[in-house]
Symmetry: C2
Subunit: 346 residues, 2 copies
């Protein structure tokens, strides 16, 4: 096949200097005569030299790689057609996370390693991967707030940053959204639209984010005289949103406003409402959450609470970078503010 790749040694010989001098030029260390720099650079170009990263990593103890870990429930079993990874990306949310992370990493010539962790074995593998020094740290996005991975990472003293605050305290940095404020924005908007019988499709209640969104929504309505608010729990999927909407309609046929805890469920709700002959927003106003791509794809387009996922993901990467470089040692939290995006559904 192709012969051995050129090494520092080869370049040094070609340029007539020592290995160390070439290394200095490659790594941009000063104390090298500009003329010699030029000679070396030409030699590098001529030989087509690319520094071997394994060798560099061996001595610097840095992989210059981060792991992007998506943790899941591991409840459903995989088939070739329907893998965990595919299910994850069915929610446009993760695409945005990847986009944000890459947005931060790419200018630094870094690239994430994608890992999916459903089972205990998978989680162990993530730990091993980091311990082997194949990645310098992990960005962790969990479907459930009580995922055991964060605690494992913290125990192993491996650098990691979480998306969303874990349900039980863990000494790791995290990036989150002020979910309660998001719920408040939704409530205020429905009230401003003159809705008098609002209801909500909340997310899984074992997820703190769902609880907070619900709490913010309820509290705000309570402050305006709505002591009781109908609630149906969904699972952040289209189908669960549709089911929850059916449930709400059956119990409270006269409702005129719905806040769904994410856009996918809002879309499901819209479909059910339309099937039952309710016009959106005239008969029932619908507010979503996330401002994901389905908010625009959906008909009518969704009024929704925007979560700046890309910025949040980028912040995650930035904080991890600080941890890895040792510029930050204590865990921090970065909390972003939600924003109401008004479209057609409310």
């Amino acid at each position: 096949m192709s012969r051995r790749a050129p090494t520092l040694e080869d370049v040094a010989r070609e340029a007539g200097v020592s290995r160390a001098t070439v290394s200095r030029v490659v790594n941009g260390v000063r104390n090298v005569d500009p003329q010699i720099q030029d000679v070396v650079r030409r030699a590098i170009a001529r030989t087509g030299y690319a520094p071997n990263r394994a060798a560099r990593a061996l001595v610097t103890r840095r992989a210059e790689t981060v792991a992007l870990v998506v943790c899941g429930a591991g409840d459903a079993s995989d088939t070739p057609q329907d893998t965990f990874a595919a299910r994850v990306f069915a929610d446009p949310f993760f695409g945005r996370v990847v986009g944000g992370v890459v947005g931060f990493l790419r200018p630094r010539s870094l690239h994430p390693v994608l890992m999916f962790a459903e089972t205990a074995d998978d989680r162990e593998e993530v730990l091993t991967y980091l311990r082997q020094g194949r990645a310098d740290g992990a960005l962790v996005v969990s479907a459930h707030a009580d995922d055991p991975l964060p605690a494992l990472l913290a125990d192993a003293r491996l650098p990691a940053v979480l998306f969303a605050r874990p349900s039980r305290p863990v000494p790791l940095s995290y990036v989150d959204l002020a979910h309660r404020d998001g719920g408040r924005l939704a409530a205020q908007h429905l009230l401003a639209r003159g809705r008098t019988r609002p209801a909500t499709i909340c997310g899984p209640l074992d997820v703190p984010a769902s609880q907070e969104r619900l709490a913010g929504f309820r509290d705000t309505l309570a402050r305006h005289g709505h002591a009781f608010v109908p609630v149906a729990e969904g699972g952040f999927t289209l189908d669960s949103g549709a089911a929850a909407m059916s449930d709400l309609l059956a119990r409270y046929p006269d409702l005129d406003g719905v806040f769904a805890a994410n856009d996918l469920m809002a879309q499901g709700a819209c479909q059910v409402l339309r099937d039952r002959g309710r016009r959106v927003p005239e008969d029932v106003a619908v507010v979503g959450f996330d401002d994901s791509s389905v908010a625009v794809t959906c008909r009518p387009q969704l009024t929704t609470v925007r979560q700046p996922v890309e910025e949040m993901a980028a912040a995650m990467a930035a904080v991890l970078d600080e941890h890895v470089r040792g510029a930050r040692t204590e865990p921090t939290s970065v909390v972003f503010d939600p924003e109401l995006v008004i479209r057609d559904s409310a």
Copy 2:
């Protein structure tokens, strides 16, 4: 911080054997007394040893990593809100690719590095990444068939496998679909449903896959007496599908069947049809392509030509693995058959 990680040496001392013996146990090489194996394994557990991959990679010249590269147009400029990566994952297609790739890699304890290549610099970086030995090969998914990356990879003799046949021949393996057969299936189904004035929303015509789907559709209709078939070109996005549908309706108001070259465009078409008061499938039957998640999300659910993306992606990974291991040296092609999935839209 944490003290030095344990090395082979440490384990060897702990177990009272030599470094080489521990290495043998770790790598599962035979010729080691079972009793000693046990001693070593216990020592590994006690020390919490994890082999340093950089060191191993240095000598084996294997990174045990593959790059998953997504090539894009690089036409639109990125904003923090709307990155290339986010745009890529807006199409559920890529989620399925990732799912398929991971499905193959995970049982082998491998994990893909995600790379996005829009600009010439990005492509150069992919090459450098591979040349540095950070990944053993690349799985390339291009938005456009004339992307220059495959040729660059082939020239550099770097192991790579493509998703879809490139528009100009390149000595690389690829995995593809019998797109022409897919177009045929769509045409046959519309005919079977008694449609007499079929039209099509094709994909970008610089993409061979689009051409083939269109050709298969047209040829089959021609064989049944339809000499002329109205065509509007789309860009595989929801909006472009909607625009193409409007266009077709304006030109051929009496059409009663539409074949869209992917599900996203089919969804856009359905929305426009509904807005114009046409019932789907009663007035206009719609057939999509891909069988992606939107096929099920869409109302009505889409009848569509299934592309087994997960299996195709897994096959890509499998072929790359053979190339990397040296089990295969000549480029091959693996072509999958499409399958009609009948739901509600036609």
